[in-house]
């Protein structure tokens, strides 16, 4: 791995940095200091839509592009981007420098030998990363986290208290599920049926019962689910706490409720593919991503909790974003090894039994 970064510079980079900093000091002006910034082109693989806009506003535009780094974006759904990274794993040179994924996606890619082990010595800001139970950051640099909880229409029903409420026959035809995050329903109903994150077998009969009792509507994406909630088509679902907070802030009739079984944790962050052409800039990207400025802006825009400890959020945002200590203690962490091994058969089961 090349070690030429701002933090462990080559002779040329050292000279550039020294000259830039010296001239900046001499002239006392910012433009000269900018000479010390790494430059070049970085290919970022990311989800599209509002997530990408928020990443651009919180991180890429102010902290990279405005400082002379050219960012090219490769936007698609996670499965499509993961397939691309997999297909490129045997090529001498890949096309992506850094990819935004979830922790579970990163685990799968790591098992398949696609990812670079992250050298945290090259990321000074990583010393503020929160330690989370059952999660390691060897191949995945987390940025934000949240948890799956209940979401409901406050004008139609009172606050639910358990994932079991999704099975309430009174809500027949008013329960919505999102195909994109089907695995979260397997985890949630595993907990309802007495299972764990390492054994979700109880989820299957419980979800069949749910289908029989409430005939849930399946929506392709978050946007379609919230539109259905807005038009009173559905009254209850399960989704990320961050999504509920974001929709509530947008004035939509959506509230979040923490389930008695506990939430299901999810982290969003970045990985560096082994075949990344510009790893130096990828490390610089992660370091900038973990600055309080980037984390705060993203939290304010998306309501996902920052994965670093040295950021102060506005009180109103903090209240919406963060989990209480008691909630944190009941947040379930996915057993990634178990999930990666069984995910294809879970998808098939979901398709054949729920999506019909």
């Amino acid at each position: 791995m090349s070690k030429r970064t701002l933090y462990s510079p080559s002779r040329r980079q050292f000279m550039q940095t020294a000259v830039g900093a010296g001239m900046g000091l001499l002239a006392g002006t910012a433009p000269f200091a900018a000479l010390a910034q790494p430059r070049g082109e970085l290919v970022v693989s990311n989800w599209g839509g509002d997530w990408n806009s928020n990443v651009m506003k919180a991180l890429e535009t102010p902290l990279l592009e405005d400082k002379g780094i050219k960012v090219r974006r490769d936007l698609a759904s996670a499965p499509a981007r993961k397939s691309k990274l997999l297909a490129e794993r045997n090529l001498p040179r890949g096309s992506v420098d850094i990819a935004h994924l979830t922790d579970a996606d990163a685990y799968e890619l790591q098992v398949q030998g696609v990812l670079e082990e992250i050298d945290y010595d090259r990321i000074p800001n990583a010393k503020h990363l929160l330690t989370m139970r059952g999660m390691d950051n060897k191949y995945f640099a987390p940025w934000v986290y949240s948890g799956v909880e209940l979401i409901y229409h406050p004008e139609k029903i009172s606050a639910p208290t358990s994932f079991k409420d999704l099975m309430n026959p009174e809500y027949k035809g008013r329960v919505g599920l999102i195909d994109q995050i089907y695995f979260n329903y397997l985890y949630a109903f595993s907990l309802v049926g007495g299972g764990t994150m390492g054994n979700i077998e109880p989820a299957f009969p419980t979800l069949l019962k749910l289908k029989e009792q409430v005939d849930p509507k399946i929506y392709p994406s978050h946007q379609q689910l919230v539109a259905a909630m807005q038009s009173d088509e559905i009254w209850i679902s399960a989704n990320y706490k961050a999504r509920a907070a974001q929709w509530e802030a947008d004035g939509l009739p959506v509230r979040g409720a923490y389930p008695a079984e506990g939430g299901i944790a999810i982290r969003f962050g970045v990985v560096i593919p082994k075949r990344a052409p510009n790893k130096d800039l990828a490390y610089h990207y992660i370091n900038e991503m973990l600055t309080p400025q980037a984390c705060r802006t993203l939290a304010e825009r998306t309501y996902y909790a920052p994965a670093i400890s040295n950021v102060t959020l506005p009180e109103a945002v903090a209240k919406q974003v963060q989990f209480s200590e008691e909630q944190q203690s009941r947040l379930h962490v996915v057993d990634f090894g178990y999930a990666a091994k069984h995910q294809p058969e879970w998808l098939e089961w979901w398709n054949k039994n729920i999506k019909v």
Partner: protein, 299 residues
């Protein structure tokens, strides 16, 4: 130029023919046959969630597909959509194609052709998105029905079989019209006039003269539409929603979501072979019917 030289110029042989054919043949070999062969080879491999693909020579993926009622239903649904949408396009497309072909004003003909091909200027997903706007719970149709008091609750128009059929037909119809129009245009109107002049009714003239002579257009249009219907992706995904299963979205799902490349490849091969066999069969059938009609007309 003597006759032999003229013939050889028109129909090059030997090295000349090989040189002229080589670039396109190599391109087809590289970008079409190569990947198909690779897909077939992958389809014989085994899937392991941790290493993805294990080298093997096994028919397990094909056995899994045909022995599972879920996947058989997916195949039958795909064939159903392909066949019905093609048939509807043929019925709906013939009259507009005939009208355009027989329009005498060049200006009007150009306007009509542009109108037909206008939807093709934008991508399929964009057109499908238009149907989402029309058919959604808060779409144009439901809004109109609710505003006028026809219904009090929005009708479920999206995520239904009918919606997918409408969307698929809307994508295929311009191809059918343009193909039929070009063939009908080459049929001399005097043949129709002769049949009518000899006392045939319009229906008889259509069955005995126009339809048999339009066979090349019908065959090509049918093949085009059927292949598009069988391989539809954006329409079933966007209009059919998560509970509507067709073959092309299943290929994508197996390869990207499940990472099961061997099974995804097997579904691709089954889709290609089914499309090919049904296309050959339908071309043969249409040709046969047309020949019978011609024979009946001349006897």
């Amino acid at each position: 130029m003597n006759e032999a030289a003229h013939r050889s110029l028109l129909r090059p042989r030997g090295w000349t023919a090989a040189t002229l054919l080589a670039p396109s043949s190599l391109a087809v070999l590289a970008v079409l046959i190569g990947p198909i062969f690779l897909l077939f080879r992958y389809s014989l491999n085994r899937f392991d969630p941790t290493v993805l693909m294990v080298d093997a020579w096994s028919l397990d993926n094909y056995v899994k597909f045909f022995s599972d009622p879920f996947y058989r239903d997916v195949l039958f649904r795909t064939i159903y959509i392909g066949v019905v949408s093609t048939f509807v396009c043929l019925i709906m497309g013939f009259l507009p194609a005939y009208f355009i072909a027989r329009t005498r004003s060049v200006k009007m003909k150009s306007i009509l052709i542009i109108t037909v091909i206008l939807p093709l200027l934008m991508g399929n997903p964009v057109r499908v998105a238009g149907w989402l706007v029309l058919l959604g719970d808060r779409g144009v149709i439901n809004s109109a029905l609710m505003t006028t008091g026809v219904v009090s609750e929005p009708l479920t128009l999206l995520y239904t079989d009918v919606a997918v059929m409408i969307g698929t037909i809307s994508v295929q119809l311009p191809f059918m019209i343009i193909t039929l129009q070009s063939v009908i245009e080459s049929i001399s109107p005097s043949l129709e006039e002769a049949a009518l002049g000899l006392g045939a009714s319009h229906w008889r003239m259509f069955c005995r003269v126009l339809l048999p002579l339009s066979t090349p257009g019908i065959v090509v249009g049918t093949i085009l539409c059927f292949m598009m219907g069988m391989n539809a992706y954006a329409t079933p995904v966007l209009i059919g929603g998560p509970t509507f299963h067709m073959m092309a979205p299943k290929v994508y799902e197996q390869i990207t979501k499940a990472n099961n490349w061997p099974f995804g490849s097997a579904i691709s091969v089954i889709l290609m072979v089914t499309t090919l066999l049904l296309t050959i069969f339908s071309s043969w059938l249409v040709g046969r019917i047309s020949q019978d009609r011609m024979r009946a007309a001349t006897s």
